[in-house]
């Protein structure tokens, strides 16, 4: 008996963690399972197993056009925000300059502001200047809220980059640009990649800000929200699950790659 209770007290927290993870994954599992549902109009009741939805993910109307828009906005916003954010992170990490604390505050504030305020204020401004909301305004908004996250992610990487490496490069006849291109950038690359991945995830999954700034442009989250009323087609589940596995593969393989780099002897 005593050994059982000892085992329990040692592992209680591990048992808890197991249940916590299960809880986290319940809706994911549900989404995945119901992507195989032989549903008609709504996907609420289980009718039977089928691979049809997976074979024809664009079968439901508007799903793929919404998905396409999400990708266009996501990729564009990621590209722009990653570049802008990396430049800021590098400046913050390597230089002393006046206005440092104001810069830090400006970067921090969007992360501390509720999305509804971000969305509402942008819409107000666009209305004021008579600018119609469209994909462009959506991209503008997405870049805006992604920059801060890119800065924080890349800045951490810059901080861990030994400045002596850049000094060594200059000592070895590389000018500022060559140093940046051949030493700094390659070594920052993992951080920049992580920032880009983060930015894309935030953009792809965004609903509130997109709702306010995208006008009539449909994105995948908007599509899901609007069809929640009449029933989400199983194809949405298919796409949601596919994105999940894709992201999982990307994250796991990047971890394996970086682990392998360290171990080789």
């Amino acid at each position: 008996m005593k050994s059982i209770s000892k085992w329990l007290s040692n592992n209680l927290i591990r048992i808890y963690a197991f249940f916590a993870f299960t809880y986290l994954f319940i809706p994911v599992a549900y989404t995945f399972v119901f992507s195989f549902n032989d549903s008609r109009k709504t996907n609420l009741i289980w009718r039977g197993f089928t691979l049809d939805k997976w074979k024809n993910p664009c079968g439901a109307p508007d799903v793929c056009s919404a998905l396409g828009n999400s990708f266009i906005i996501g990729l564009t916003a990621t590209a722009i925000s990653t570049v802008l954010g990396t430049l800021i992170a590098y400046a913050l990490g390597r230089y002393e300059f006046k206005g440092r604390s104001s810069t830090n505050l400006l970067i921090f504030l969007p992360m501390a502001t509720p999305e509804i305020v971000l969305g509402a204020s942008l819409l107000t401004m666009f209305v004021n200047v008579g600018f119609n909301t469209s994909m462009t305004t959506a991209i503008i908004a997405h870049v805006m809220f992604c920059i801060s996250f890119v800065v924080v992610t890349v800045k951490a990487r810059v901080a861990s980059l030994d400045p002596k490496l850049e000094q060594a490069a200059m000592d070895l006849y590389a000018n500022e640009w060559q140093t940046f291109r051949r030493v700094t950038l390659p070594l920052l690359a993992p951080g920049i990649a992580a920032a880009a991945l983060l930015a894309f995830s935030l953009s792809f999954d965004d609903f509130i800000i997109t709702n306010f700034t995208a006008g009539t442009v449909n994105t995948f989250p908007r599509f899901v929200y609007v069809s929640a009323g009449r029933g989400i087609p199983a194809q949405a589940n298919v796409i949601g699950s596919a994105m999940f596995f894709l992201a999982l593969i990307i994250v796991i393989s990047s971890q394996i790659i970086s682990a392998r780099r360290k171990v080789k002897i």
Partner: protein, 376 residues
């Protein structure tokens, strides 16, 4: 990419009135120095003395507040690091982790537009010199500390700079490896003939490797010379205490005897060679290194300078030698190192002893110097 003409400048390294201030604090204070081409030069001093700052100014990684730096005829004071004929071996090697060893070494050559074929020849040659040709394809994190250190040196010397700067390159190595690397670096320097400027706080290292040493303290040079000069004839108590150990005993010049001065040490007269005297007045600090003392029981025969009335207060057996702390009649202690090279018994604590030494091994410093400056 064209090779900058300035990277081919050659000649002695000349520092003129070099100063680096951080606000009120002068890290380097009006330093002037000539380091002859082809020599192995050491900048020695405790941490914070300004030696690394000086090195970084020569490398171009730090901008001087005033003064100038010349390589031969070329003024490099304002030049960016990548224009100077100077390469640095950094303290933690700073090898590029994302490049192979080959590419690390080739880095400087490629920036100067050397052709691929020439690069391969040069890199292979230097890898052979440091006896690590098999590591060319590896990455820095796969190498041991000693190997990384040698690659860092190779990466610098492959560029045939006028000057190689070494910023405490052996600090991260264990004792045995450090000793080995000291010999190797010295050998490399004599092989290729580049001027080496080696910054270190380890006085043994400086004395082992360097032709000339400059001892720095608080941004200034205390004394410069060969290791023998600095060791046998220190001019300030800082140098006397920083290099090896010294016993400094206050005394008064009482007369002269040919080439020697006669100095009164608490009633006893001792001889000090005039050539080893840096004091200007009558008040002096007489210096004798602990290993120069001969220690014997009272009553035994002695010659040279003699101090009587001493009592052994502590004994430490160190294998190679025995260290004695000896209390002198005037209340202070001196250190004596006696090599264990004969059958004589160790002296015990409390033993009454007499100290003697050859007058030629005495030096004298200005009486106003602090007797403890430079000791740690």
């Amino acid at each position: 990419m064209a090779v900058d003409a300035s990277t081919s400048a050659r000649g002695d390294l000349i520092l003129k009135n070099l100063t680096k201030s951080f606000g009120e604090f002068n890290a380097v204070d009006d330093l002037s120095l000539v380091i002859p081409k082809g020599s192995f030069f050491a900048l020695l001093g405790p941490s914070g003395c300004g030696k690394t700052t000086t090195l970084r100014m020569v490398a171009g990684l730090e901008v001087p507040t005033s003064g100038s730096i010349f390589v031969g005829e070329t003024d490099i004071t304002e030049m960016k690091p990548y224009r100077r004929p100077v390469n640095t071996v950094f303290q933690n090697y700073a090898l590029f982790p994302h490049l192979t060893i080959f590419e690390n070494i080739a880095f400087g050559l490629r920036r100067r537009g050397i052709t691929d074929a020439e690069v391969k020849t040069a890199v292979d040659k230097v890898l052979t010199l440091i006896e690590l040709p098999e590591l060319a394809g590896r990455k820095p994190n796969q190498l041991s500390g000693g190997q990384q250190q040698r690659i860092a040196v190779a990466r610098a010397i492959v560029n045939r700079p006028a000057l190689l700067l070494l910023d405490e390159p052996l600090g991260a190595l264990d004792l045995k490896l450090r000793r080995q690397m000291q010999i190797e670096l010295k050998w490399i320097q004599t092989e290729i003939g580049i001027t080496f400027v080696h910054v270190t706080h380890d006085q043994e290292e400086a004395m082992t490797m360097a032709d000339t040493i400059a001892v720095m303290n608080k941004g200034k040079i205390e004394q410069m010379g060969t290791p023998e000069e600095l060791y046998d004839s220190p001019k300030t108590s800082f140098v006397a205490n920083f290099l090896g150990q010294s016993n400094l005993i206050p005394g008064k010049v009482s007369g002269s005897d040919g080439d020697n001065l006669v100095v009164d040490l608490f009633g006893t007269k001792v001889s000090v060679p005039k050539s080893r005297n840096s004091a200007t007045g009558d008040s002096v600090l007489v210096g004798v290194r602990p290993e120069k003392f001969r220690i014997a029981l009272e009553g035994k025969a002695t010659h040279g300078n003699v101090l009587t009335g001493a009592v052994v207060s502590d004994v430490s057996y160190i294998g190679v030698s025995t260290q004695y702390q000896v209390e002198m009649p005037w209340g202070k202690e001196v250190m004596v190192f006696e090599q264990n090279d004969d059958d004589e018994e160790m002296l015990r604590k409390g033993a009454k002893v007499v100290l003697s030494w050859e007058p030629i091994f005495t030096f004298a410093l200005d009486g106003k110097d602090s007797a403890t400056a430079g000791s740690n």
